[in-house]
Amino acid sequence: MTTASKLNRLTPYMFLAPAVLLLAVALLYPIGYMVYASFLDWRPSQYISEAEFVGFRNYVNLWNDEAFLESFGVTLKFAAVVVTLEMLLGVGLALLLDRNLRGLAALRTIFILPMMIAPIVVGLMWRYMYHPTVGIFNRTLKSWGLEPIPWLSDGTWSFIAVVIADVWQWTPFIFILSLAALQSLPQSALEAAELDGATGWQKIWHIKLPLMMPVLIVALLLRLIDAFKVLEVVLVMTNGGPGLSTEILSLRIFRTAQEFQELGVAAAMSNYLLILLMLLTTIMFVYNKAVENRAARLRAAAEEA
């Protein structure tokens, strides 16, 4: 190969280099900073260079930190419950509304609205609705002659309250993805199923859901990743309370840094969360890649046949 042609091959990389470098610095610097901070005993009043290096102490101590473990548990429980509910409701609604009736387009648009509202506003909104005396729920209960519910002052009820708010905001996300998946299903396969004698349920179970599965799995992973990071709604509604009943991980991290002023510990917690999220993201990428590879393999096989 001549020098000239070698140079030619390098040209695109040379043009790309500055942008890639900039991106790498912009992305990696804050993350590197956080990783470094997690090895320090660092207070906000100190320069980072004055902080004491403590190795893995922050990470190890967290395993004995009951409040941290509790909030980790709350986060897992929260993510599992909201994502399950959102999947069931979102997919269910999509199956229900996947028809060409007039007026449905408007209804669909309305369903999507909650997703467009800033989470902090959603939190405030629900906090007022859950208000023990003037909130709509307890007022309604009262007018029916029922006992008021201690929405935000009881551990179990406040967890339920937070779950409801999150489900309200994010079910539409699953709903629009599912609806899009449903509408791109091969209609003729559904017609064939009809002639093969499938009932509505059987069509859903044997044809629609299996064909939607790739989209559903990606939607599930995206929602899981998001649910692990939830902050504002909970912060505004319960601020983690009462007790630690709704203290999700990102709230714990926030408070460790803000209230307890332990930046190094907060960084270590963040890194645990980061590892968990990276794991989920990797699963999603691997899954997507597998789906793509499979599709490519099928195409190749079909061309051979």
Binding site: S188, D196, G197
Partner: protein, 360 residues
Amino acid sequence: MPTIRFEQVEKSYGAVRVLPPLDLALDDGEFTVLVGPSGCGKSTTLRILAGLEELSGGEIFFDEKPISDLASKERDLAMVFQDYALYPHMNIAKNMSFALRLNKTPKAEIETKVRRVADMLNIGHLLERKPAELSGGQRQRVAMGRALVRDASTFLFDEPLSNLDAKLRGKMRTELAEMRDTLDKNMVYVTHDQIEAMTLGDRIVVMSEGVIQQQGTPEELFKAPANKFVAGFIGSPTMNFLNAELTSKKDVLFAKGDGFELPLPKPLAKSLNGYAEKTVTLGIRPSSFSSDTKIGTPIDLRLVVSEYLGAQSTLVTRCGDAEVLVEHDSSSPVRTGSQLTFGVRTDELMVFDKNTELRL
């Protein structure tokens, strides 16, 4: 097996009328073939019968009971879709057995049925594959198999062999013919293929632009087409149409045109009362020409191209300015550009009205 009757069945998509009111009766156990040019409404008719499209008017009766309120699955039909419509996520065995699994057929019975049909269709070795891993022709056979494993009372086939090679098509044709003779099922079969229509159909329905042009046995359609469209559609190679003037000479009626003058047989001449001295369309089947000039009336044709088909050749010739196809025995060779003389079996001639295109 029900008798099926269409009564004034109509179909429009918005302002586009695809089927004008249409009457059609399919007898119990009959193999009906729908033929017609692309876009004439064959698939639409089939899909209406299957309940996949709603009627815009009229009614369909099964054994004289109206069925337009019945859902597809209550009509007891099996269908081969024009676009196959396989289940992409199921392997071939699962695709074929879906209906049987839904109605809880015993496992062993499903297995034997699928195996038998798959072997008949030469797809026994593909049962584990997904549809995306098959070629077009293989997919089409799976679509066929999925219908054939069922025990429905009516089978609908929408061009089920269109993607197969000639040999396989021949084999499948034989299998279908055997099914037709042994099973007491209603079959409605859509095709473009002459040979399929003629060999399989108990009755052929010729459609054009949503209108039924004629229906009858293959023989009726071939020997007595109702109009020029049917005459041109049935039979291969297609019938030749020539402009001719009818002239009477000494009691014999002649069709005279550019480069030919053919006497018309007595019975035909009789039905042409009132057309004397008028221009008509003369129809001559390519098989009505004989290289033995002692047969019938001689005609001179100039050979343009000879299309070799094996034992037979189709000669593309000119008679004056018009193109004329001639079926010819390949064993007697002919030279391109040469002037040839053939005998025309005049008793096979047909005459069509120039304007209405009806056969006279």
